[in-house]
């Protein structure tokens, strides 16, 4: 792998300068970032020393600083996915020092530079999975997740003509548990963390949510069968119950979802009338 050194010097501006100088430490870091021009390119790590990073920045703001300087030097900025920057849209997806979303159990956008120390070397890579091909630099294509949902991650009700919302009481415990499963943000950290690049935590979260709720009962069996089939067709690996996905999931989606999906799938295979 070729290694090029690019000098990046951060010029700080504006009135906040003095105040921040006092309270926050500035860090000097070495970034090793995966650069890849497009899906067809081979790609390699490139090293960027960076200076003047405030401990108060978010990780993505540190990337912004790098990109501003790269642009100023006439170099192509590092491309990475991000949008809401408040930990809910699931778009950010950096693999930092061997962990999806970095050392803390959050999304990349909620990781702050105070989690690092002066002089650290930080390696930043894209999610790695056959079903998440690299688009450019750190951007990957996660449309496989959409196709898994399209295979059955819904209740087939048309708009209008549904019963009153309070017609079917749902025990609070069930509603809460379904909610826990439903909090998945579809970021793909589970796939990135799993040594088998398995998407079972993601798939099982949706199967679980709908299997628990009364509204999901009608299509319960076909949903499990179709979503698992699509998950396999996308080229995700199998689960070996290491628990890495649960440990790295920014939303704390639990392994019990995978157990439930397995039950749902076995039951559906045996009982459903699709031959």
């Amino acid at each position: 792998m070729s290694k090029t050194i690019h000098r990046v010097k951060v010029v700080r501006r504006a009135r906040f300068h003095v105040a921040i100088e006092k309270k926050y430490k500035h860090m000097k870091l070495t970034l090793k970032i995966w650069r890849q021009k497009n899906a067809g390119d081979k790609g390699s790590f490139v090293t960027y020393p960076i200076d003047g990073i405030s401990t108060d920045m978010s990780f993505l703001e540190m990337m912004d600083v790098l990109n501003e300087e790269l642009t100023a030097n006439g170099e192509d900025p590092v491309h990475f996915d991000h949008d809401c920057r408040e930990g809910i849209c699931g778009m950010c997806s950096l693999y930092i020092n061997g962990h999806p979303h970095g050392p803390k159990q959050t999304t990349t956008c909620q990781l702050h530079m105070r989690s690092f120390s002066d002089g650290d070397t930080i390696t930043i890579e894209p999610w790695r999975a056959k079903a998440f091909p690299v688009v450019k630099d750190l951007v990957v294509d996660r449309s496989s997740f959409d196709r898994i949902i399209q295979a059955g991650g819904y209740v087939s009700v048309n708009t209008g003509g549904v019963p009153d919302a309070n017609e079917i009481p749902i025990p609070k415990r069930i509603a809460d548990e379904a909610f826990d499963s439903a909090t998945c943000i579809g970021c793909g950290a589970c796939v990135a963390a799993c040594k088998n690049a398995s998407a079972m935590l993601f798939t099982s979260a949706k199967i679980s949510q709908l299997a628990m709720l009364p509204q999901g009962q009608v299509e319960r069996m076909s949903r499990a069968e179709k979503m698992v089939a699509q998950m396999d067709a996308e080229g995700f690996g199998a689960c070996t119950n290491t628990g890495a996905c649960e440990a790295e999931c920014p939303k704390g989606i639990s392994l019990t979802n995978i157990a439930r999906m397995n039950r749902e799938y076995f039951a559906a295979s045996v009982k459903s009338e699709t031959v």
């Binding site: 090793k32 020092n97 056959k130 088998n196 199998a238 689960c239 397995n262 031959v275």
Partner: protein, 226 residues
């Protein structure tokens, strides 16, 4: 594709086979270790030899042993198949891979399993093949003739290398079981707030107790029969 092959060839279906065969092999190990405890009886191997004959001749046991052979076979074949799929799922690996908060065993079941498979081949060649087709000395208890498997066993475990090999293999088995036991239940979908902690505890006890008992046999023989 019929629904059976479709189900069993899916990633979850293949895991089902792994879990079911794994659990059967755990049952087998329980039986195996209980029977072999007769080695400790100190009766010159009489009880052990009687037990060995029973195990190779009883038709019900025959059936169980065929189930065991096929469990090993399918456990190995399906794990190879799964590993191949899993390998393909990440064609390009990471530059930095810090092991997340998972156990070493859980990440290395394939390697552990391969070592155990090699052990099984050696082990079966040493004793099982001997018992079935080997030219064993014959002993007579109460007028009935028995193959003296005990003598083969005690001879084999005079060899330090053999003893060390067995003890090490049992350590690998312990690690394999430490993940495999609870993992099989999780795969079967048996994850429950009330029972899973109990399964985890039983799994931990099992994965330590059974390999220790197995490992203590060659050690015991090495020190008592020399």
């Amino acid at each position: 594709m019929s629904w059976v092959t479709k189900t069993l060839s899916s990633t979850i279906g293949r895991k089902l086979i792994m879990a079911l065969t794994g659990l059967f092999l755990i049952l087998f190990l329980t039986g195996h270790v209980s029977g072999n405890l007769l080695l400790f009886k100190g009766d010159g191997g009489e009880a052990f030899n009687i037990y060995a004959k029973f195990m190779t001749t009883n038709p019900a046991v025959k059936l169980l042993s065929w189930l065991t052979y096929s469990s090993i076979f399918f456990h190995v074949i399906f794990s190879a198949w799964l590993s191949w799929t899993n390998k393909k799922s990440r064609p390009i690996g990471y530059g930095v891979s810090t092991p997340p908060s998972t156990t070493v065993s859980s990440r290395n079941m394939g390697i552990l399993g391969t070592i155990i498979l090699i052990f099984i081949v050696v082990h079966m060649q040493s004793f099982w093949a001997q018992m079935h087709w080997g030219d064993l000395p014959i002993v007579t208890y109460e007028g009935e003739q028995y193959k003296d498997l005990f003598s083969i066993v005690s001879f084999a475990f005079q060899n330090e290398l053999m003893v060390i090999g067995y003890v090490v293999a049992m350590a690998f088995l312990a690690f394999h079981l430490s993940h495999g036991f609870a993992s099989a239940f999780q795969t079967l979908g048996l994850n429950h707030a009330k029972y899973s902690p109990a399964i985890a505890v039983i799994g931990k006890i099992y994965c330590i107790l059974v390999p220790i008992l197995f490992a203590s046999m060659p050690v015991y023989i090495y020190f008592t029969q020399s």
